[in-house]
């Protein structure tokens, strides 16, 4: 299998698209990221990431409906492709594997 590398931000965006499921477009993703991670990211950064992910084949998109608050412009709605899904699963599997390999005393205890 050809390994695909995802940047941390890209991973977050990809995940958010998956979270939003059918309503994933620029502003919604930005807002969701803000809400979930507390990070304030710019729309342009999100767009750039989406653009890269689409180029990598991990996202696909289609034009959605237009709304008045957008000045009558349509949204571009994103969804995760099979490749994107595989990448997310790979990352998660790798992380799980790594977590599993950590001995319980290796990490200092932090109180949550």
């Amino acid at each position: 299998m050809k390994r695909t590398y995802l940047g941390e931000f890209e991973e977050l965006v990809l995940l958010t698209v998956a979270v939003l499921h059918e309503g994933a477009y620029g502003v919604a993703i930005t807002d969701e990221l803000d809400r979930q991670t507390g990070r304030s990211v710019s729309i342009s950064a999100v767009h750039a990431a989406l653009h890269r992910l689409e180029e990598k084949g991990m996202l696909k998109s289609q034009m959605g409906e237009a709304t008045a608050e957008r000045g009558g412009r349509r949204k571009r709605l994103f969804s995760v492709t099979a490749l994107g899904s595989r990448a997310l699963h790979d990352i998660r599997a790798m992380r799980d594997q790594l977590w599993d390999s950590i001995s319980p005393s290796a990490l200092p205890v932090i109180s949550l």
Partner: protein, 894 residues
């Protein structure tokens, strides 16, 4: 698509939007802009407008990233504007379109050709006039000495284009800082060339603009190419002459130029000079067409000093000319004070003539008719500007035709536009296509007018300036033509192409094309109104000018001009002999010896004094000199008293009514036997004649006296007309010539009819009249053709409507009215607009006349009626045709 509900009035900063639209890749723009709008709306509610605006800007700027930027080429590539394939396609569609709409093509082509021809002809004329004497090296430093003259203390000040004979030399010596001063005198003389035989060859000439006696410095100011002789020394000595090449050839034939040097030429019968140089004529237009330059030193050394008194301060002749060249960087203003001081010191208070010299730029010489002389032909600048305006308006009218017809037909081409757009044509491409079509048409028009220019110029020779030479292929003309082509194409093509290319393909292909019909309709109407306004101004102008010309032709001048022939015997004492001979001829009613006829270009003013009870009344009075036959011959009406008696010298005076009134006599009879002083002698007034015109109608009738003086040398002959045929006139003229030959065997017989010489006074007005007539004809023609085209088109478009109306019972008359009404309304509006403009323009023109016709309202009404009937005839042809069409035919097919 851009509608937003009214609850969302807030929009993001416009310039931010613009920036985004400018840099952002087209396929990303919609989603990005949409997202930004959404965020902005949200922000406005959350943090208020100012902050939202700022955030919007920030967001836009943040989007300037590599992936958002526009890339070349875009998704759909289209061939560039000038790709040869597309050009060929454009040419093909153009030709197809032009041949399909033959009527409008012909109208457009005709209009554009007329417009461009008018422009070209007028350009050639104005360019020729404006290029006069512009070719001299340092021409901006060359000035003519002119001045202001005043006779006596109370006389009027007159601007004069010449100086007293003694002035140039004194100026050369006294005014500091002038680079060169050169005087010259125009003379007029027959020329004798000794041939070695008994009798020299004689070249007759009565022209005043060929022979000059010049300072050698003349050639420092005006540069000639010397073909023979030494320019430095040629004219330094007396009895030398420099000839122009052509003149040398005329005198001496085709012998080598070097052999002509030293040959003898005789002027004024006894002034023998030898040829010292030969110069090449200038080819560029110039007022200085001198051909014989006699050295200045000859004057004092020969009998020329009798006619040219170089020490004369107290009189002034138009033949006495002087030019100066200023040093580099000097301005004429620097010399004003010096020249005024010069005038004050040389023309002291008790001298008869007061004269203040001044400088006139060379560039002014050809246009300023205040400063008269014997050689330059004056061009009338306002007329030239008027011509340019006419050319521009005619071209504009032609362009408007094009716009109107093209936009009217745009519906038919909407499908083409739609298809082209669907196939990927950009708007720029479409605009370029339609413009190239216009350019093609314009180019054809330009080519046709190039062919027309020569015939037209020769046809209107009387209107074109003398000596006009046309070089159609000089680079200036070519540049002008290029500019005209471009301007005309843009002027007439830009709006239609912009409009055509704006059609939305989805709509046009579905068949909806009249989306902007109302807007275009208004524009077309506006343009028609403009066209007819221009035409109407021209029509009113024509009417007024021809009325004034008629008035001048037909108004009673106060004397008879019919069948009077003027003969000028010139110097010498044989005049009376000739008059005596003519008197005895059959077919001659009366003969008078005179200075000049009562009315004409030449007249003379002198000072007369009348001693009232209390004081002297001194006045400038025009002198009409003739023998006792003068008054009866011209049938001047005597109001009181009698004609003066036959005498050899001045004994008695007859004055006109104006003079009598000016002297304070209420009744003409009161002035009889009063004494009037002329040159220190008193003469009795024996008669008073009714006022008559002595100058053109531009001038007021002033005081005049009529008397006999021995200097009356010219002859006027009244031919008997009663019961005579034109053939008799010819025999009389032939016998006059015989009488002339018997007295002057060497001289050519020349005569003028008084009618003709009076008509000459109005040459300018006649020309203006002809020009206005022509402009009117062209303007009306082009406007009507445009109207005709539009009418044809509307009639075609409304075929179905007319069919339905007829089926439902409309009469032919009502349909014609329906189709015609709209157009007439426009002409009517044009009349309202044109009237004040025309009134103003004609008022300006008439201001120059003292005796003139009034600006009557009926002229405007007549012009309106004319324009309306012309429009009516033009439109009704089509309307009637449409109204008569059988509805079965027009409704048959769908």
């Amino acid at each position: 698509m851009n509608t937003r509900p009214p609850s969302q009035p807030v929009e993001p900063p416009r310039w931010g939007d613009r920036l985004l639209e400018w840099f952002c890749n087209a396929h990303l723009l919609e989603e990005i802009q949409g997202d930004l709008y959404e965020r902005f709306t949200h922000d406005v509610q959350q943090v208020g407008l100012p902050k939202a605006n700022r955030r919007y800007w920030l967001n836009v700027v943040q989007f300037i990233r590599p992936f958002t930027l526009k890339r070349q080429p875009e998704h759909y590539s289209s061939p560039g504007l000038f790709s040869s394939i597309m050009l060929r396609n454009y040419l093909k569609t153009s030709l197809r379109n032009l041949t399909r709409h033959k009527v409008s093509t012909l109208i457009n082509l005709f209009g554009l050709t007329l417009g461009i021809t008018a422009c070209l002809v007028i350009y050639l004329i104005t360019n020729y006039e404006l290029s006069y004497d512009t070719f001299h090296p340092d021409s901006e430093r060359i000035y003519r000495l002119i001045g202001e003259s005043q006779y006596g203390k109370s006389g009027e000040k007159h601007p004069v284009g010449f100086v007293p004979n003694a002035v140039p030399k004194a100026i050369r010596e006294e005014i500091t800082g002038l680079e060169t001063v050169a005087a010259f005198h125009n003379i007029s003389s027959d020329v004798l060339i000794p041939t070695g035989q008994e009798k020299p060859k004689r070249f007759e000439s009565s022209r005043h603009d060929e022979l000059v006696v010049v300072d050698p410095q003349f050639f420092d100011i005006f540069r000639y190419e010397w073909l023979a002789g030494n320019p430095q020394t040629a004219l330094n000595e007396p009895f030398k002459v420099v000839l122009s090449e052509q003149k040398a050839r005329t005198y001496f034939g085709s012998i080598p130029l070097d052999h002509i040097l030293g040959k003898e030429v005789i002027y004024e019968d006894s002034v023998r000079v030898s040829v010292a140089g030969i110069v090449k004529e200038w080819v560029q237009p110039s007022d200085f067409n001198f051909t014989d330059f006699i050295s200045f030193a000859t004057i004092r050394a020969s009998k020329l000093k009798q006619s040219i008194n170089l020490d004369q301060w107290t009189d002034i002749w138009s033949a006495s000319q002087a030019f100066v060249k200023l040093p580099q960087g000097a301005t004429p203003e620097q010399f004003t004070a010096q020249l005024q001081r010069f005038g004050k010191t040389h023309f002291t208070k008790n001298m008869e003539l007061q004269f203040t010299p001044a400088l006139q730029p060379l560039s002014d010489l050809h246009f300023n008719d205040e400063y008269d002389d014997n050689y330059s032909r004056k061009a009338h600048l306002p007329t030239l500007y008027g011509l340019m305006a006419i050319a521009a308006f005619i071209l504009l009218i032609a362009a408007i035709n094009f716009i109107n017809l093209a936009t009217a037909q745009s519906v038919q081409r909407a499908k083409e536009t739609g298809i082209r757009k669907v196939m990927g044509s950009s708007r720029a491409n479409l605009i370029f296509q339609f413009l190239s079509e216009t350019a093609l048409l314009t180019l054809i028009a330009v080519l046709i007018s190039l062919l027309l220019v020569h015939p037209i110029l020769s046809l209107f020779q009387t209107l074109t300036p003398e000596g006009l030479t046309v070089d159609l292929f000089s680079w200036q003309t070519l540049i002008f033509l290029f500019l005209v082509t471009i301007t005309t194409s843009l002027l007439s093509g830009f709006y239609p192409s912009w409009m055509l290319s704006s059609f939305v393909p989805a709509l046009t292909l579905k068949g909806q094309t009249t989306s902007k019909g109302g807007e275009n309709g208004n524009l077309r109407k506006g343009l028609i109104v403009f066209q007819f306004t221009v035409s109407l101004v021209f029509i009113i102008g024509t009417l007024m000018v021809s009325r004034q010309l008629n008035f001048m032709r037909n108004k009673d001048l106060g004397f008879s001009t019919n069948a009077i022939v003027s003969i000028r015997p010139g110097w010498g004492d044989k005049g009376p002999v000739l008059a005596q001979k003519i008197k005895q001829l059959a077919g001659v009613e009366r003969v008078t010896m005179e200075w000049f006829p009562p009315m004409g270009q030449a007249f003379m003013v002198t000072k007369l004094t009348y001693r009232d009870k209390k004081k002297d009344v001194e006045m400038d009075v025009s002198a009409k000199i003739g023998d006792e036959n003068f008054i009866p011959l011209y049938q001047l009406r005597l109001l009181a008293g009698r004609n003066y008696l036959k005498s050899d010298s001045l004994r008695e005076l007859v004055i006109n009514e104006t003079y009598a009134k000016a002297l304070g006599f209420k009744k003409p009879a009161d002035v009889l036997n009063k004494l009037i002083r002329f040159q220190d002698k008193a003469f009795p007034v024996v008669g008073v004649v009714a006022d008559f015109h002595e100058q053109s109608f531009h001038e007021k009738i002033g005081p005049v006296f009529i008397a006999n003086m021995p200097q009356a040398r010219n002859i006027s002959v009244k031919l008997a007309t009663q019961g005579k045929q034109v053939g008799d006139l010819k025999t009389t003229l032939a016998s006059l010539e015989q009488a002339w030959k018997s007295v002057y065997p060497d001289k050519k017989f020349e005569y003028t009819f008084l009618d003709d010489s009076i008509a000459k006074l109005y040459e300018k007005e006649q020309k203006t009249g002809q020009l206005v007539n022509m402009a009117t004809a062209i303007a009306i023609l082009i406007s009507c053709m445009g109207l005709f085209g539009l009418a044809t088109f509307t009639a075609q478009q409304r075929t179905k409507e007319i069919g339905v109306r007829k089926v439902l019972g409309a009469s032919v008359a009502s349909i014609v009215a329906l189709l015609t009404k709209d157009f007439l309304k426009l002409v009517f509006i044009a009349l309202i607009l044109a009237s004040p403009i025309a009134w103003w323009a004609m008022h300006q023109w008439l201001k120059d006349f003292v005796y003139k016709v009034d600006l009557n309202w009926w002229v405007f009404a007549l012009a309106g009626v004319l324009a309306i009937s012309i429009a009516l005839v033009t439109v009704s042809f089509q309307s009637i045709k449409a109204a008569l069409t059988n509805p079965v035919k027009s409704l048959r097919s769908e």
